[in-house]
């Protein structure tokens, strides 16, 4: 059913139950997202897409639009809140862009640019999380993980549907795990899918490194914002 909502004071027609960040993007309003993958179930883990819905701050990817909804995305407070969420993720792990294979193709980095982050306001933690290189084709750089849970939910064993990735422990001890047996059974295209799905440089394909020259990398060819606002398939 078609409904009317307002985004930043602009009247917008949408279908009831559509995801708010999709409606915003389809109408030319970019809300930075990180854990969210369009057309997949919402994870709601990163909170980077914070917007105001009828006066309450919510993660835009978790909200289904309904009649008369009043949405604000661009107040100074919201802009700063989203920036703080990204800065928090950069301080929480070891995000060493100059030495990372994912640089230029990393969604965390790309969203950092979109929120105009230059430094984290939070103290950098430099957590110690050991690398897991036990599986045949995947290198798991745990200290880059932002716990978005994309791999946990969307990458599953083809035969059994079992989860290949999981998160163990809690709080500052939390870390991403890989089931080596299931990972070794992943077909090559699924390994590549997992690498592309990982929004940071945690899931790295062994034997593949810095394969795109600087200036020709994914988000240098088209920014995260332009990808989210484009009408093409397969974004961001």
């Amino acid at each position: 059913m078609s409904i009317q909502i307002t985004i930043d004071g602009r009247a917008i027609t949408a279908e009831e139950g559509q995801t708010l960040v999709d409606v915003a993007a389809d109408n030319g309003t970019y809300v930075p997202t990180l854990c969210y993958v369009r057309d997949k179930p919402c994870l709601g883990t990163c909170r980077v897409c914070a917007v105001s819905v009828n006066g309450n701050v919510q993660a835009g990817c978790t909200v289904k639009v309904s009649k008369g909804m009043v949405v604000e995305t661009a107040t100074p407070d919201l802009i700063d809140m989203r920036k703080a969420m990204v800065e928090f993720l950069f301080a929480e792990g070891n995000h060493n862009c100059p030495s990372c294979e994912k640089s230029g193709r990393c969604q965390l980095q790309a969203v950092g640019y979109e929120v105009d982050m230059m430094v984290s306001r939070f103290p950098y933690r430099f957590p110690v999380r050991v690398v897991d290189h036990a599986s045949e084709r995947i290198w798991l750089e745990r200290d880059r993980c932002i716990f978005c849970q994309r791999c946990v939910e969307f990458i599953r064993d083809k035969a059994t549907g079992r989860k290949i990735f999981s998160i163990s422990h809690r709080s500052d001890k939390a870390r991403i795990e890989i089931d080596v047996e299931l990972a070794n059974a992943m077909p090559p295209e699924q390994v590549r899918e997992a690498v592309d799905l990982c929004p940071v440089g945690t899931i790295i394909e062994k034997g593949v490194g810095y394969d795109d020259p600087i200036g020709m990398r994914k988000y240098e060819i088209q920014s995260l914002r332009d990808r989210a606002l484009s009408t093409e398939e397969g974004k961001p």
């Binding site: 070891n94 862009c97 030495s99 979109e114 105009d116 230059m118 430094v119 984290s120 950098y124």
Partner: protein
């Protein structure tokens, strides 16, 4: 005058007797905006990026005079500066002293590059104990000479290194940040040109890079 740096009458390089500046040159410098730049624990790549300003440097030099840089190699700045660029993070006691000295003598202090902004490549040692880093480098090093007594360097003349590598803003207040490893010459130019012409700091998305 003593060559021993710990003697009471020891002097630093900026205190050495120098030929007075040519009066015409001194007059030409008056009224210019004073800039100083120094590297702490980094690789000087950001300084090379500064040189990537190429001919744009010449137009800037009509308004700016660079009191301290790798070219003069003074350890301390002798006059108050409007703008100080800091490259590199804080990894030893000398870095702390230098950074505090720059904070004291610069109106605006800018972290330039990944090392100054968050520690950068040197901060990769932050996930290890300092003791283990030194042991790996000097005792269990693959290039250690067999049979030689392993020695971790320690001397009064050597600055003691800090337990972790720190971003500059965790040691003193930094006013602005230019990320990048190194930042493009364009990013450094944009910031310097804006500040020199009285415009606010602004690093547009198109030239903000972390690598």
């Amino acid at each position: 005058m003593s060559l021993n740096p710990h003697a009471k009458d020891a002097i630093a390089s900026h205190e050495l007797p120098a030929t007075p500046m040519d009066p015409a040159l001194a007059r030409a410098r008056e009224g210019k905006i004073k800039v100083a730049m120094i590297g702490l624990c980094g690789c000087w790549g950001c300084t090379l990026s500064f040189l990537d300003l190429d001919e744009r440097l010449f137009t800037l030099l009509d308004k700016v005079t660079i009191l301290r840089s790798s070219i003069t190699d003074l350890k301390r700045i002798t006059e108050r500066c409007a703008i100080g660029f800091i490259e590199g993070g804080v990894a030893n006691e000398e870095n702390i002293e230098t950074l505090e000295h720059f904070r004291e003598h610069c109106d605006i202090l800018i972290s330039v590059g990944a090392c100054a902004v968050w520690g950068g490549v040197p901060a990769m040692r932050n996930v290890f104990d300092l003791k283990d880093c030194l042991t790996e480098a000097y005792v269990d090093s693959p290039t250690a000479i067999p049979g030689a007594k392993p020695t971790i360097p320690f001397h009064l003349d050597l600055p003691r290194i800090t337990d972790k590598v720190y971003p500059c803003h965790e040691v003193v207040k930094m006013d602005y940040f230019i990320p990048g490893c190194p930042p493009d010459g364009d990013a450094i130019y944009k910031v310097l040109d804006d500040l020199v012409h009285g415009r606010p700091f602004d690093l547009p998305r198109s030239i903000n890079r972390y690598d």
